[in-house]
């Protein structure tokens, strides 16, 4: 077991070293070595995952006589397999995609180093290895994004990424230092055991250590996963090679969710921090989605889409659904990776033939011409609101009867319900000639998605957190006062229903009322199109700092 887990992490490093040394001799064929090593590492990680699934005990494997440890547990094996799976696809894709680019060998060296850094990050059993690998991911990503050394733009945005990631490193380093000072060990297993045994044993500046450290870990996760105010790098880093975009959106940016999961034994004692995480995730999800919808640049829209998804993932952590965040990470990774890697061939095909059937969907979505047919809106409203709810409740009852006792579960159901209702509402708005057929298909897809989501996420829950008591503890840590929760649910429901109502009545009155608020909407649109001026503020701040630096140098005569 020990050798197996070490081999998984070290193979990409060996590959990087070989390519660096022999790229000149073997030319472009050296990429095959990288692919072979990644494949081997992936197969070994599958074996490790199989062992973990079969119930092998969690192990902390010391590296020699040092304080460094590698961790064999469900989280590390699952994520190592996901990372290597995505990395393998990116490797295979890059063999031909990057063939015409300069620095072909160097690209594979960086790709292998990135894979190794990500692997060490997820299997780190001690704080030092975790901090080092966390740090190195940012540095290597900077160089991967700047693969095209002719492009000033690529480096400009790679720099944004580096600085945001470095900002995110700082709280993690602080958290590691605080934990070491409190427990006199770097070992995560030992620290977690002690925290679980006595969570209130230590204080920092009058605050519980668990809260302070959880807050710092949360901050590190926010920077890595592009949460609101630390998101500006993500939509702009599209000048890097497509395989790097795929790896970044499918894997690297998800690291925040991993980090929160890794420190779950701390978060379980930090209710307030979980609430903050929920709010930040929620704001990010809303802003990300809003900005995505208003982009006219498809790549930036994809970037903001990832931001919205990351917000949702962090929000899931905030409601105690830690394993669901991992499933989300996996599902989003596969989905977004596929989108990036297939983008090139889609563009090529579209140049020859757009392939879009001129059907009802086309006339609705592209030509903005809904069909004339109308159906009784009351009936439609009932279908829209009731069907998704029935599907969601039915699916969740299948996996757990006490599911509805958890506030976090209610929040998730709520989101599922709103999304489902929105889907059916959109179907109704299309005013198809055969609306029942279209709605039937929508409901069937919703049923399949919800059932799949519920069963797979339940499986993730059982695998990652086999201790039912701990799972319940995570959910209850995220709970808020029952009355406040109920009031919030009512308010949010009213807001959403009011939104639907306004949309409906606006359409009924041919947008006459909407005209009155046109100026307001235009101002709002201007605000969104400037991305809330966040980038401008950051640019202004960094320029001010550079001006201060220059003035200091002039005053001090450059000495």
């Amino acid at each position: 077991m020990e050798r197996l887990i070490i081999a998984v992490a070290v193979l990409p490093l060996i590959s990087a070293l070989f390519i660096q040394l022999f790229a000149g001799r073997f030319g472009r064929a050296i990429a095959r070595l990288s692919v072979a090593m990644t494949t081997l590492s992936f197969l070994l990680s599958c074996l490790l995952l199989a062992l973990a699934v079969s119930g092998s005990e969690t192990l902390a494997i010391p590296l020699g006589s040092s304080a460094a440890e590698l961790l064999f547990d469900p989280l590390s094996t699952l994520l190592a397999t996901i990372i290597l799976g995505i990395s393998l696809i990116v490797h295979l894709y890059s063999v031909r995609y990057m063939a015409e680019e300069a620095g072909y060998g160097q690209f594979f060296v960086l790709l292998d180093m990135m894979t190794a850094a990500l692997l060490f990050m997820v299997i780190a059993g001690d704080l030092i290895t975790l901090v080092i690998s966390w740090y190195l991911v940012g540095v290597i990503l900077y160089f991967l994004l700047g693969q095209d050394t002719r492009s000033q733009t690529a480096y400009r945005f790679a720099f944004w990424t580096l600085i945001t990631y470095r900002l995110g490193d700082l709280p993690l380093i602080l958290a590691a230092a605080l934990l070491f000072n409190a427990y006199d060990t770097w070992s995560l297993t030992v620290i977690f055991n002690e925290v679980m045994a006595n969570p209130d044993a230590h204080q920092v500046l009058g605050l519980p250590l668990t809260d302070v450290v959880a807050g710092l870990i949360g901050l590190a996760a926010f920077a890595r996963s592009a949460q609101f105010l630390l998101h500006t790098w993500l939509p702009y880093t599209m000048d890097g090679p497509t395989p790097v975009s795929a790896l970044m959106h499918a894997g690297i940016v998800n690291a925040g969710g991993f980090l929160i999961n890794r420190f779950a034994p701390l978060f379980v004692h930090s209710s307030e921090v979980l609430h903050v995480i929920f709010i930040v995730g929620l704001i990010t999800a809303i802003f990300g989605s809003l900005l995505m919808l208003t982009q006219n640049d498809i790549k930036k829209a994809l970037g903001y889409s990832t931001m919205g998804q990351m917000g949702f993932m962090i929000m899931e952590c905030g409601i105690g659904a830690f394993s669901l965040a991992i499933y989300h990470m996996f599902a989003h990774g596969v989905f977004k990776g596929t989108m990036f890697l297939s983008a090139g061939s889609v563009i090529n095909q579209a140049r020859e033939n757009d392939g879009i059937p001129k059907d009802e969907l086309y006339t609705f979505a592209v030509e903005k011409r809904p069909n004339k047919a109308r159906y009784p809106w009351l009936l439609m409203a009932v279908v829209t609101l009731v069907v998704p709810l029935v599907i969601l409740i039915f699916a969740h009852l299948l996996v757990s009867e006490d599911y509805f006792q958890k506030q976090g579960a209610i929040v998730l159901l709520f989101f599922g319900w709103v999304t489902g209702a929105q889907l059916i509402f959109a179907t109704y708005k299309m005013r198809s000639q055969n609306v029942w057929r279209l709605m039937g298909l929508s409901i069937l897809s919703l049923l399949i998605v919800v059932l799949g989501y519920v069963f797979i996420s339940h499986g993730f829950d059982q695998f990652l957190y086999p201790d039912a008591a701990f799972r319940a503890q995570l959910y209850s840590a995220a709970n808020i006062n029952s009355l406040s929760f109920d009031v919030l649910v009512v308010i949010v429901t009213l807001v959403i229903v009011a939104g639907w109502g306004i949309t409906y009545f606006s359409e009924q009155n041919d947008h006459r009322r909407a005209q009155k608020s046109k100026r307001l909407w235009l101002n709002f649109y201007a605000l969104i199109s400037r991305e809330f001026y966040i980038n401008d503020i950051y640019t202004r701040l960094s320029r001010s700092l550079l001006t201060v630096s220059s003035r200091l140098n002039v005053w001090l005569r450059w000495l």
Binding site: A67, Y135, N181
Partner: protein, 253 residues
């Protein structure tokens, strides 16, 4: 009074503002690269030698002064474009932090190891800057750029050396910074925060330096790239540095 004079003397070599300006004036006025190399190796060692062999009480104001000096030079590095000057400022920012382990009573051997481990990347930078001056007449960012395309081997080595100098894992400066944060967080949390800020500015300045030199289109002129023996030399030193970093990590963490 003797204590103060002692500190004043040491503050020249383990630079504290405004004495730090002396070191940077020396860097600016010494042109031969051999002398610069000696300067960058010996300067902090002289400071440590004096500090460890004289008896004086370290006043409370020294910690904020050392941190302020380091922060000041880290901020000033952001707008520098001349590589030698940049290296001098980074040296000042790094060496002023050596006061921290002295205040904590770290062993002499460890202090010397840290000083050497942190100075070697700076020495390599001095040598690389000399290489730039030889090829282009000046070691200046934003002036020619495109080194990654014009002289790719040199650019690769340059980037790695800068990365080593700005406290990236697994180089010694990284473990020094980590150790200092761990030591400071319990006694002086504000100092730990300042250390992290300084660290961030080093990364910022390093990225600006790299971008100013390696990014851009290839030069039309034929410029000789680094030869294999030089690459071997830099690679060996960097590997030894990395191993040294891991050794130091074992010693302190």
């Amino acid at each position: 009074m003797t204590d103060f004079l002692n500190i004043l003397l040491i503050a020249i070599f383990l630079p504290l503002f405004p004495m730090s300006m002396l070191f940077n004036a020396v860097v600016e006025n010494i042109k031969p690269k051999g002398l610069r190399v000696i300067l960058f190796i010996l300067w902090p060692l002289i400071g440590l030698l004096i500090a460890l062999n004289s008896e004086f009480v370290i006043p409370d104001w020294l910690l904020p002064l050392a941190l302020s000096t380091s922060l000041l030079y880290a901020i000033r590095m952001l707008s520098l474009r001349e590589v030698n000057q940049w290296t001098g400022f980074l040296a000042t920012s790094i060496w002023s932090l050596l006061w921290l382990p002295i205040m904590q009573g770290s062993s002499a051997a460890l202090l010397y190891e840290f000083a050497i481990g942190m100075s070697v990347p700076l020495v390599l930078l001095v040598l690389l800057a000399a290489g730039l001056e030889q090829r282009f007449g000046a070691a200046y960012t934003g002036l020619y750029g495109g080194l990654a395309r014009t002289i790719p081997r040199y650019a690769g080595v340059f980037v790695t050396v800068v990365v080593a100098a700005i406290a990236t894992p697994l180089f010694p400066t990284f473990f020094f910074m980590l150790d200092m944060v761990v030591e400071m967080i319990s006694s002086t949390p504000a100092a730990a925060l300042v250390l992290l800020l300084i660290w961030l500015f080093w990364s910022w300045a390093g990225a600006r330096l790299i971008q100013g030199l390696i990014v851009g289109r290839a030069s039309n002129n034929k410029i000789a790239d680094m030869d294999m023996s030089s690459i071997s030399f830099y690679s060996i030193v960097l590997i030894v540095l990395m191993l040294g970093g891991i050794y130091l990590a074992g010693a302190i963490l």
